[in-house]
Symmetry: C2
Subunit: 218 residues, 2 copies
């Protein structure tokens, strides 16, 4: 990589970090807990949010990041969660969200009555971890179908998160997955990680997830 | 995005495309079919290659792309496939492979007796599709666990591929997945796509996959 490019990237990152800090302060002042969810495509982020809305009495808003389609925002609206879709572009498109885009989106969103603001990042275990979107909490969703080795292979998303939701555990009986090894690999990258094992299909672990959110919101 | 950055990106892409064309010509001259596999993390690319090696009598070489770890190359070597690991970097790391890196790797690889060169790209359904790695065939692996909507949400990888392996079909009985809808979504993005439905666990569809490879190698 040429030196010039590195400089450009540094400039973008430092501008992004400034906006991210502003966002965190603004949400805190409004009494809103903001949570950034990162993961591979199809790990179950949207399904977890759908199920969360039925278990939590407070107001939830979700900003959905996708390269294309409004499918996830439509699903959430059907589940009773107000949401806003950011599309990063039809051809290739940006592989992550940035704090400035969240700030722009928030100018069009009415947050009165909202206690939790979720940012559902682009399905990508690499790039989103490099950009602070200004959330109070970063979390990574890891489906048991993805294999035990993913924390080791994609360490930054795990290093930069405070919690990890291990999802789709209802599928464990049909997979050759060693759950303890998966957990150990998460902790190897981030010993402070709060791990919640859940299934949005059976509801297993969802109470623990909601309890985690309510504790952090206080 | 500033204009300067777009120009830098264009310059990289056009240099990359030149190297990719060179690679394609070189491999063709050597009688080697080169295949680039793209997918989300954990879709089963490495398992498919492991199983393929037992079904094909010709020589296979695999170039493994990962941000970190040599886990996949180690798995392939255990399965009898010679392989070379490219790590794109420990902190964050590049989210895709480029043709120049493949060209550099090939300078250290002995390809005598090799008929198939696989490039297992970084697990990422976004960025790898933007960079031609100089393969004769591009393919996308889509696990049934990822959901029917992924071709619509990550269209470029599907648009730029000639074949799609729908993997882990042994899990279908335990998922709420409409397989016909998944197939229709693939074809909506790329009507010319050759689709092979398979499971590296049960072996279902693996004969069809090997037949596809052998037909293309001729």
């Amino acid at each position: 990589m040429e030196k010039k490019e590195i400089k450009v990237m540094e400039k973008i990152l430092s501008a992004n970090d400034r906006v991210a800090d502003e966002l965190r302060a603004e949400m805190k002042q409004k009494g809103i807990l903001s949570i950034n969810l990162m993961s591979s495509p199809g790990s179950g982020k949207t399904s977890i949010l759908e199920r969360t809305s039925g278990l939590i009495t407070e107001g939830i808003f979700a900003i959905e990041g996708d390269i294309q389609t409004t499918l996830d925002a439509e699903r959430l609206v059907s589940a009773g969660i107000a949401s806003y879709q950011i599309n990063t572009g039809p051809f290739g498109g940006d592989c992550h969200l940035e704090a400035g885009w969240i700030q722009n989106a928030l100018q069009e969103i009415d947050l009165s009555g909202i206690d939790y603001l979720f940012v559902e990042n682009i399905g990508n275990l690499v790039c989103p971890a490099e950009f602070d979107v200004g959330a109070h909490l970063n979390g990574v969703v890891l489906s048991v179908t993805e294999g035990e080795d993913k924390p080791l292979k994609y360490p930054l998303a795990f290093r930069n998160s405070q919690f990890c939701l291990i999802s789709k555990v209802d599928l464990l009986p049909y997979l050759d997955i060693n759950m303890q090894r998966m957990i150990n690999n998460v902790l190897k990258i981030n010993p402070e990680m709060e791990i919640i094992i859940l299934s949005s299909k059976t509801g297993e672990g969802m109470d623990e997830w909601v309890e985690f959110l309510e504790k952090r919101a206080r």
